[in-house]
């Protein structure tokens, strides 16, 4: 039950939100011209990163707005929140270590080395 800072409503509990999966997957403008493989890429292929992931979230039990979130999936630390339509920000710093690697802290990992934008 982590907190998410809705760009409109401010910090709220996770239960007010729904995760919409990976961000920046744009629906192709010319589907008929695409091969099966290209379409399948759009349709099915998703990254499932243990670490920094770009996601879409919706404040479904609040203002119902969609926005983008950069989240460390290993620690649920939210690194950045930005609006729909904005391009993905560069997250500087080392890739955080995963819990099964050598954790910097506890059994999870933390991106204290991350420069937060």
């Amino acid at each position: 039950m982590f907190l998410i800072n809705c760009p409109y409503c401010g910090e709220r509990d996770q239960i007010e939100f729904t995760c919409g999966g990976e961000a920046h997957i744009i629906r192709p403008k010319n589907p008929p011209d695409l091969s099966d493989d290209q379409w399948a890429d759009y349709l099915f292929m998703r990254k499932n990163i243990k670490g920094v992931q770009f996601e879409r979230w919706n404040h479904s039990n609040g203002c119902r707005r969609w926005f983008n979130v950069v989240r460390n999936t290993a620690t649920d630390e939210i690194i950045k929140i930005y609006n729909m339509g904005e391009s993905s920000p560069t997250i500087k710093g080392n890739e955080p270590k995963t819990p099964s690697g050598e954790p910097k802290i506890g059994s999870g990992n933390i991106s204290t080395t991350f420069e937060k934008k």
Binding site: Y8, C9, G10, D13, E16, N61, C63, R64, R65
Partner: protein
């Protein structure tokens, strides 16, 4: 002429802790959902002119005049409520047009339960994960959140004699469940 159902509640309960908490259904309120892009100065001025209230653009606030409130629901969405049912939504609809705005009467899809009394926040804290003291610290604040699994809107009314009064807007179909569990919650309020 068809008969109007006065209340959506099946059964009314007496509350043991009546001195500390009061729960009632507020009827006969006109509720209009309003959508348009607030960057459009034209639409904004038409709306303000007809309603004679400023459209709130600060999230989770409402503006109020006499019996009317305009409640912020989202960056391009508001709820207008009118307790005298005088609001002319047809006029608003026609004036704003149907291309760049939307005016929808939802009076009967939302029911209002009004909770008041000094234990209001205690009762609600049994069901809401939201920080009530922060998000509804004074009047002119409103907040949309989740009540168990139901999306709701909470509006803090003006204080009378320092008694907190909150209106909860609930989907009509959920009201009986929510009302009953609220009544159940009034049993233990001193914690």
């Amino acid at each position: 002429m068809l008969k109007k159902e006065e209340t959506v509640l099946f059964k009314k309960h007496n509350i043991e802790n009546y001195s500390k908490i009061k729960i009632e259904e507020i009827q006969n309120i006109k509720k209009i959902n309003l959508r348009f892009d607030p960057n459009s100065k034209e639409l904004k001025s038409i709306t303000s002119k007809i309603l004679d209230i400023i459209i709130p653009t600060i999230p989770n606030t409402y503006s109020e005049k006499e019996k009317q409130k305009i409640i912020w629901l989202g960056p391009n969405e508001w709820l207008i409520i009118d307790s005298e049912e005088k609001l002319d939504d047809d006029l608003l609809n026609k004036s704003l047009g149907d291309e760049n705005a939307s005016v929808t009467n939802i009076s009967e899809s939302k029911t209002i339960l009004r909770i008041s009394g000094k234990k209001t926040f205690s009762l609600l804290s049994k069901f809401l994960v939201l920080d009530l003291e922060k998000n509804l610290s004074n009047d002119h604040l409103c907040v949309q959140t989740i009540f168990l699994k139901v999306p709701i809107l909470l509006v803090r009314n003006k204080n009378f004699d320092n008694i907190i009064e909150i209106d909860i807007f609930i989907n009509r179909s959920h009201v009986n469940y929510i009302y009953n569990i609220l009544i159940d919650g009034t049993k233990n309020l001193d914690f």
